[in-house]
Structure formats: C-alpha cells, structure tokens
C-alpha cells in the first residue's frame, strides 16, 4: 500500500497536496484498493463552497458506492474532468492522474487537523 510522505491525509482516506494556498484532493491507494473497479464518479460543480467532511461527490465501484468528502473547507476551483470518461485512473494512479478536485483553502488552520503520512499509516494498519 503506497502512502506518500509529502501528503496530508483525512480519516475518510482522502489525501491533500498543498500548493500555494490551494490543495489538490484525491483518495488514497488504500481507499482505491478497498473500493476496487471504480466505474463512475459524480464530481462536484466548480465554484461551490464546501465544508470539511461534507459529501461533495460519489464514487461508484462495481461492488459498492462511497461518498467523496471534502478534505478541507473552501471553494472547489477545479475538478478532474478526465475522470468523467476514465474513472479507472483513480485505481491506476490515485496520487497523480487520479486526482479529483482542487480546493482554494478557506481556513488554513484546518490543515493542522489532517494527518501526516506516519499517522495515516497507523490508521490503516488498524483497519
């Protein structure tokens, strides 16, 4: 299971990559592996305000369906449109081509509530 050192993680198995006051969000390698065979993702609209932990989309895998939650509060400024036709990118490359949304961070202090890689590693080793 790949966990990248430079990312932050939520307990809902999303990752966040910081980039100049914005974060890119995706789901972790663990999450994609648990879901497996993702066939459809319902993406949020660009421009909407979201709150941390709120369901902003839906990930449909063959066997199950899962909410996509906002990793932080803020504004959705971009969604990965590639995923509309190729949702399997999340399975194949969860930390790069399979990124899901870009959020303009509303409250930078919330970053502190996310987990470092080592903490996230502990979390999934318990599941």
């Amino acid at each position: 299971m790949e966990i990248l050192e430079e990312l932050l993680y939520s307990k809902d198995h999303e990752w966040a990559r910081q980039e100049n006051g914005e974060v890119i969000e995706g789901i972790t390698d663990y999450a994609q592996s648990e879901l497996s065979d993702i066939v459809y993702i319902e993406l949020p609209e660009e421009g909407i305000e979201v709150r941390k932990g709120e369901a902003i989309g839906t990930i449909e895998a063959v066997k199950t369906v899962s909410d996509l939650c906002a990793v932080l509060s803020g504004t959705i400024i971009e969604v990965n449109k590639e995923l509309e036709d190729h949702p399997e990118l999340i399975n194949k490359d969860p930390y790069d081509a399979g990124w899901i949304v870009r959020i303009k961070v509303g409250d930078p202090e919330e970053l502190g509530t996310l987990m470092e890689a080592s903490e996230y590693k502990d979390l999934i080793s318990m599941e």
Binding site: S36, D37, V39, Y40, E42, V62, K63
Partner: protein, 365 residues
C-alpha cells in the same frame, strides 16, 4: 467459518477473502472487471465448492424428487441435468437448483446460502423409501467457463467431451482421478463444472491451470464478484435477491421450470391459483441511461409513484452501461416501458429491456 478444499489456492493467488454462506470465499483476485472480461473472451476458473450437494436414492427417489421440485424429473435420462425450483406450499421459492440423474441416485446441487435450510426442508418432507444424504462437504466443485473452455477441458479428460450437450453430465477421469463433469454454468458462456472428492480439489485446479498454459490460453481465476456480474448480465436469478420465499416462479419469469401436468408437487395448488387469478408483478430487466449504478433495494417509480424495487443491479463491464433486475407492477413490465429508479435521492431514467442483457454468449443450447 468453513473453508473449501481450494482455500489454500485462494490465499496463494492473493484472493480477497470474505465471509459468504458460512465459507471464506474469494470475492476477487485481481479486478472484478478483468475477471468478467476473462470469462467473456477466454476462460475463467471458479471455486464453487461452497455449493451444496444433496443425494437422493432409494426406490422412491424419482417420485420424491418430482414431489419436492417443480420441473419434471421423470423426463431425465441417465446423466442428464435439469434446472428446477423447490417451493413452499404457498408458492414461494425454497431454492433454485440443479438435479443430476446419476446411475443410482439423484444429486441435487443447491445454493451455498441454503444448504442447511434445503436439507432440513427435504428431510421434513420425506416420502416413501428414500435415503437423503448431505454430501456438501464430500465434493469440491470447480466451474471452468468461457468460449475457449472446451480447448482446455479436452486436454485433460480421458475422452474428448466436445459432444457432451448442454445440461448433460458424464463420469470422466482427469489424470486418473474420477470426476463428474457437466456442460453447465452460471455465466452464459460455454463451460463445464467439475465435481470430485474434496481432497482432489487443489490437484484438479492445478491440472486445469497447467492445461491452459500448455495451449497458451489465459485462464483467469474468478471470485464471487465476477460470478455475480456474469450471471446478472445473462439475466440468471440469484436466490436471496431475485427469487425468495416471497416470490413465485411465475412472478420471476421461471414458469418454464414448472410442469403443471406432471402430477402433484409441493406448491402446485398455489401456483394454479396464481395462474387463474393472475398476479400483479413481474421480474424484469432494466437498462439505465446514466452511469449511476442501481443496487439491491433501490425503489422503482413510474410518474412519481413507487411501482417496484431493484433486486440486483450492477455496472455491466461487457455492455458498458448499468443494468438491473427488479419486480415491477403490471403493466409496467412491458418491454420499452420508461421507468425511474431512485439512486441517492435522484430519479434516474431506465427502460425495460428483454433478458438476457448480454445476448452474445458462447453457451451451447
């Protein structure tokens, strides 16, 4: 939790193990979609040893089988196989099953989830001079399914099974080991199911896999996830979802399994009554316009009014759109009817289509 004779094989293959019907079973090995594709295009191999086998013998065996099942077992020739149902007196379904006519007995192959229930049901309805034996743990069962299956099987059996017709079985030898093979399956593709003594399971699995390698035919190990999609793509019912104690074979579109003119059987009166009085709902197939996946339990609407419920649904990897089966009130069961399915508070349009969804399987009828 019980383990099938193939358990070690699943671990070796890194199968994702789940609890199913008292067994540790692989839900998938690599990817469900790849496993489905393997069966549609080449060959897939499944451990289905969790299925139950109940053997009925004795001088009254045929009459007894005909009493507890809806299809006519008396037309079975030696080594012939029949798909049938067992009913409650009220007409609901106890189970759907296969009946094999063997030289000295009838072998009933039942759903894993119903093993104990079926055995008790059969014992409690015992009539005449019959022996009823639960053989579920004695046998392994391996399904080999897909358009190229015959090429594999004919390499490992003593005699070429090419001429074995659909729904016939025979005794065979694989590397000197006695097995029962039948031209049956749950995928809509050509294929065989192999039964034998449990301790031989691992060995037979390996022999099948090796044969595939020898002739350069890729054999994909498949888990329960792929098995469920494959059967749904060809409109086969799954007990517990599409057929239950609450549904009759007539409602489920399985009236071809009911032979009213064969004499008395459990549930017959209720079915005659239902046939005469008519019934209000029907199991149908539906195709969805969106990409959202309909799943078991989702409600079906017509112009805002709830008229039914999804019993099985999935994204079809073969057809590349969502498909579902479910019960709807008449007359909304008619082909071409537009319906709506509620998926997470959104109404998604669907259309009633004929079954099977996937019509190009390699199955030899």
């Amino acid at each position: 939790m019980k383990k099938t004779p193939l358990y070690e094989e699943h671990i070796k293959l890194n199968g994702r193990m789940v609890d199913f019907a008292d067994f540790k079973m692989p839900v998938q090995y690599s990817s469900i979609i790849n496993e489905v594709k393997g069966v549609r295009e080449s060959v897939g191999i499944f451990d289905v040893s969790h299925m139950g086998e109940i053997e009925i013998s004795g001088s009254y065996a045929l009459n007894f089988v005909n009493w507890i099942t809806t299809n006519d077992a008396s037309i079975l020739k030696l080594w012939q196989v029949q798909y049938t149902t067992m009913l409650y007196p009220e007409g609901g379904i106890v189970d759907d099953l296969l009946v094999y006519r063997l030289p000295d007995s009838y072998l009933l192959v039942v759903n894993a989830t119903n093993r104990e229930k079926d055995f008790n049901w059969i014992i409690n309805n015992k009539r005449g001079n019959v022996d009823i034996e639960d053989r579920g743990d004695d046998y392994f069962q391996i399904a080999v399914q897909g358009p190229l299956t015959l090429d594999v099987i004919k390499r490992i059996t003593l005699k070429d099974p090419s001429d074995l017709p659909f729904y016939w079985a025979k005794e065979e030898f694989i590397s000197g080991n006695k097995v029962l093979i039948s031209r049956t399956g749950y995928t809509g593709e050509d294929g065989f199911e192999i039964y034998g003594d449990s301790p031989l399971g691992m060995k037979i699995w390996d022999i099948v896999m090796d044969a595939g390698e020898t002739i350069n035919t890729h054999i994909v190990p498949c888990g329960l996830g792929a098995r469920d999609i494959l059967r749904l793509e060809v409109g086969y019912c799954l007990y517990g979802n599409d057929i239950t104690k609450e549904t009759t074979p007539l409602e489920a579109g399985l009236s071809w399994l009911v032979k009213m003119n064969k004499g008395d059987f459990i549930g017959k009166e209720s079915l005659i009554k239902q046939e005469e009085e008519g019934f209000g709902r029907k199991l149908i197939g539906m195709r969805l316009e969106s990409k959202s996946i309909p799943r078991h339990g989702y409600p079906i609407y017509k112009e805002g009014e709830k008229i039914g419920e999804i019993t099985s649904g999935t994204h079809s990897p073969t057809l590349n759109y969502p498909i579902a089966m479910g019960y709807v009130e008449k007359p909304f069961h008619k082909k071409g009817t537009k319906l709506e399915i509620e998926i997470r508070k959104k109404m998604i349009e669907g259309e009633v289509v004929s079954l099977p969804f996937w019509k190009n399987g390699s199955i030899k009828r």
